[in-house]
Symmetry: C2
Subunit: 247 residues, 2 copies
DNA sequence: GCTGAGTTTATGTATAGACATATCGCCCGT
DNA sequence: ACGGGCGATATGTCTATACATAAACTCAGC
């Protein structure tokens, strides 16, 4: 396809050359014109096609490579990647912010809070080997006075000493941590359970009703910071993840 | 901090200069040395610090900006971004590949397949306004002969005409689509339900047992391609999402 | 036919310089 | 006080060039 034809297709043509190049290539990939495994033109050819320098082409291709749309191999060339799996960016915001964004009144209630030297179960759950001090918290979030989720959390006090000074009677621990403690790795596990009597009472639902469970572990530089288990009423709450191919 | 000190810290120092710069800055952000809102040095200063050209610094900063770790504003400078929300890349692989990766025997069974002009419910579910033809499929996936998930899918035949030629008696529709149809947007919703009698029978679990439900919609350039609802036994199956700050 | 060394080639990184562009602040005139 | 204009400045894009590096290919020698 010629440069003229590319220009003619102009849907929202970006103002800069490298963005134009990136978008042209992206479109060919997404429409299937260049299927997975297809070798896309060499930087040298693209550069002549657009009449620009190689650095400009390289910038466009580097960004596409960073977005995992293409794979670059020295000497061999550049290839369209097979969409390896359906992946989605799952946003799990701070619950207080999430409820606020929905325009509903946020409510928070601390059920229990205890500071102790970590017992075996605590260490197992946090994934720490050495003895440490922890804070164990149970609390409940609500939206417009309707129970929204119950939270059961452990915080490693040795890794997050500032947590000793936080007032979890007022601030939800998730919000406090999010704003005060930088983290580098997080892992979420999502599963489904049925409410036992305790959960049913806390969430004001029937015993046996389905619940969504999110367990989250957070680390900083490999060191465990906190482990949290959130239980949501399952049929009312949905986790939504939207994904756009790139940009 | 001096260049010498940076070098001294060498944890897995990358081989190239721009990666070194990027990693040094990333470390300062992740350890909290440069908190959110902090203005990081100008390109000019960083360039003198490392004794390199501005383009090299620019490449490092551009990548950090693309990863949303920093925000760049002309004339004002470059700033550390507030970690806006906990987000995680949730990988939802092809079920056949997922079971295979676990080293278990994959089994697939087509329960029903029908081709029809979309009725109101179909159009509502797919999110299309105009009449179209669809394929409606129900099938079951199993691992080592244990039911793994039941799938209920609609495919827009007008958007994916090739689907008419696919043999869904043999190929699971998810795998076929993943390998044949490029998509640009996807949305997942995750929720929990309890098994009714039909689901319990299909998954070989008790009525009333918890189930995880994933509903996925896929589009290409804004046009709906397929809508699928997957039901998993909830206490056995977990969705895991791991997230590293960047890279 | 096979192995290993050398050649070729496409990408990867880096440079110095140039001009574009957005915008923050300052100054000036009303 | 207030607003408009303007210059300073940091980032954004682009060029032409250079050398590094990894991998695919070639071919001689066994």
């Amino acid at each position: 396809m010629s440069l003229a034809e590319d220009r003619a297709k102009d849907h929202a043509k970006p103002s800069t050359l490298y963005k134009t190049i990136r978008q042209d290539i992206e479109r060919r990939i997404l429409t299937g014109e260049w299927p997975p495994g297809h070798r896309i033109p060499f930087e040298h050819e693209i550069m002549e096609h657009y009449g620009c320098s190689r650095m400009t082409v390289n910038k466009a291709l580097s960004e596409l490579a960073q977005a995992d749309l293409i794979e670059r191999r020295r000497r061999a060339g550049t290839f369209v990647r097979r969409p390896q799996f359906l992946s989605a960016v799952l946003k799990i915001p701070d619950i207080r912010a999430e409820i606020g964004a929905l325009g509903r009144a946020y409510g928070y209630e601390l059920i229990s809070s205890a500071r102790r030297t970590a017992n075996a179960a605590d260490r197992e759950r946090l994934g720490v080997k050495t003895p440490c001090k922890v804070i164990a918290i149970r609390c409940r979030h609500s939206a417009d006075n309707v129970p929204f989720a119950v939270e059961d959390r452990l915080i490693d006090l040795d890794a997050v000493p500032d947590a000793a000074k936080a007032n979890f009677k007022i601030d939800p621990p998730g919000s406090w941590l999010l704003h005060h403690v930088p983290w580098t790795e997080a892992e979420h596990a999502i599963s489904a359970i049925v409410a036992d009597e305790a959960i049913a009472a806390s969430l004001d639902i029937e015993t046996g009703a389905p619940c969504l469970v999110i367990e989250r572990h957070t680390w900083r530089q490999g060191r465990p910071l906190t482990a949290v288990r959130l239980v949501y009423p399952g049929e009312q709450h949905r986790l939504v993840a939207r994904f756009r191919g790139s940009e």
